[in-house]
Structure formats: structure tokens, C-alpha cells
Amino acid sequence: MNVICPESVESDAVFSKEEALESRPYGTSETSPLMAIRQPAPWLDDALLQICRLSTLSSNWDSYGANAPNLNSLVSAQQFLVTISQIVGVPKPSVTLSPDGNAAMSWEWDDDSQNLDVEIRSDGEIRYAFFNDETDLDGTTRVPGDIATILTSWSSY
């Protein structure tokens, strides 16, 4: 499976979004049964494109020795984005790379009160770190719904 890239981006991987939507290896069954599901959010296309463009970076892209993008991580990240974009209430993340070369994302609440960072490893494992004035959470999961729960339940933290 390859990174989804439009033909306008120079990459060895060209893959259709429709195929990605159909593949969904995380599966909507791995979202909470209480979450409302919808068609992918309008921000999905832009987020997938950002992931694709990250695939063109080379090692040391941060000038401090960062690893080159891990394509398996980028593929997993695109699949993760497809899944969570279909959950009502999940906003678009900021998309970037971690120094390990894994796809990474951040969500920051508008009032700067809370922050969620997520890293998608090559095997699909999701590492996350969340904090606000009262709470610090960090851990790993393979269920995108766990991330969506944090994003849609901020008022409970």
C-alpha cells in the first residue's frame, strides 16, 4: 500500500483516495459506538495532501538529525485521518513529522487551554500526549476512536 498522492506531487506513490476510503484498516468498528459517523470532513483532502508532501523530505530535514519520512507511517497516518475525519466533532489537525520520521499531528484548542499530540508509527500504533491545566495523559493505542474521544470530550478534562 502506498502513500496517497495526487499526480501533481512528484512521488513514487500514486494511490486513489477512493481506495483509501475503502481500505480503512482501522475500521469504523474501532470507533466508539456512541460516536456519530459522517462522510469525511472537508479538511480530509488537504490533510492527505500534506502527508503526501511530507514523503518528499530527506533525512536531517530539521537540521538536528531527524530521520527521513517513514513511508509505512505515512500510509498509516493517511488511513488514520480517513477514519477520524468521519467522526463528528473532530477538527483538522496540524500535520508534521516527528524526528523519528513518523507522521505526527497536533490539535490545539482555540483558547490555548489544551493540546493533543499524536504520532503514527509504521505498524499503525498511535502514540499520544494530551495536557491541559489539570491533566497530563500519554500512552499508546491502536484505536483511532480513543483519539477521537479525547478530541470530542474536551469538556470533561
Binding site: 536531517n60 500535520v95 508534521t96 513529522l97 505526527a104 497536533s106 493540546n115
Partner: protein, 147 residues
């Protein structure tokens, strides 16, 4: 290698931030105006002991960016963020001076207990940073304080 020397609480340390033209989020808005580093720009690879920075008392923002040319990189578009050492220490982190051949002011932010750099703290640390303006990068000399 020169032995590490203590760094004062009032010192400022700097870190390079990649340009936004790489299609990744490198900066975020500060709650009080201006920009700060995005949280992932203060992360290390898994298992690394320290986050590389530079002491403003020895390395100016312009010098920090000019080091990119030694890596065959173009400094255009790169940012420099600043942090106060006291804010780093308030998070139970430490700043250790460890000069390199190309940067006499090089230092690392490390975990207070000597364990691997805690990437889980990068978000809180990022909120303590400020991206220097183009004017500051061009004019601030090593050893001069900035807000």
C-alpha cells in the same frame, strides 16, 4: 570535551525551527500575540537524551541560522525560537552546556533525572517559546537579552 558548566536561570537559549514551506506546521500562535514553536519542533528521536539548543550568550540567532550552510541547507525561511532557562527548569528539565566544533554555545535540554528526554513535555515547553522576529534575527548579537 569541555566539562559541562552551569547555566544561569536568566539565560536564554535558542533553537532552529524548520520553515513552513516544507508543508508542515512549524509555528503556532502565542496566547499573548506573536508566534511560538509548534510542539513537535521540540521533540527528539526516541531514546535521545537531550534536545539540542544554543546559548544566546555565545551564539546569536543569525549565527544559529548560518550553521545551516555547513549542512548545505539554505537558511531562508527558517525560524529561531527562544526559551528562558528558568522556564525549562520549572518543568524539571535541565540545560547542559555541551559545545560542538561548529557551535560553542551548543547545549541540550535534558531530563532532570538523567533519563531520556521526555517528549511528553514538548507541548508544555513549546508554549514557553517565542519565535524571534526577522528584525531580531538580523540584529540581536550573542550576549544581548531579548524579551
Amino acid at each position: 570535551m569541555q566539562d559541562p558548566e552551569p547555566i544561569g536561570d536568566d539565560e536564554i537559549i535558542l533553537r532552529r525551527i524548520p520553515p513552513a514551506k516544507m508543508d508542515m506546521e512549524s509555528t503556532a500562535k502565542r496566547s499573548d500575540g506573536g508566534l511560538r514553536a509548534a510542539s513537535w519542533r521540540l521533540a527528539t528521536e526516541a531514546g535521545e537524551k537531550g534536545l539540542s539548543c544554543s546559548r544566546l550568550c555565545q551564539t546569536s540567532p543569525r549565527q544559529l541560522l548560518d550553521q545551516l550552510t555547513l549542512q548545505d541547507s539554505n537558511p531562508d525561511g527558517w525560524f529561531v525560537c527562544r526559551m528562558y532557562v528558568r522556564d525549562v527548569r520549572a518543568m524539571k528539565l535541565e540545560v547542559i552546556h555541551c559545545p560542538t566544533e561548529i557551535d560553542s554555545g551548543h547545549c541540550e535540554i535534558r531530563n532532570e533525572d538523567g533519563s531520556d528526554y521526555p517528549n511528553a513535555k514538548k507541548g508544555r515547553l513549546a508554549k514557553k517559546t517565542r519565535i524571534l522576529t526577522d528584525h531580531e534575527v538580523a540584529t540581536v548579537k550573542a550576549g544581548v537579552l531579548v524579551d
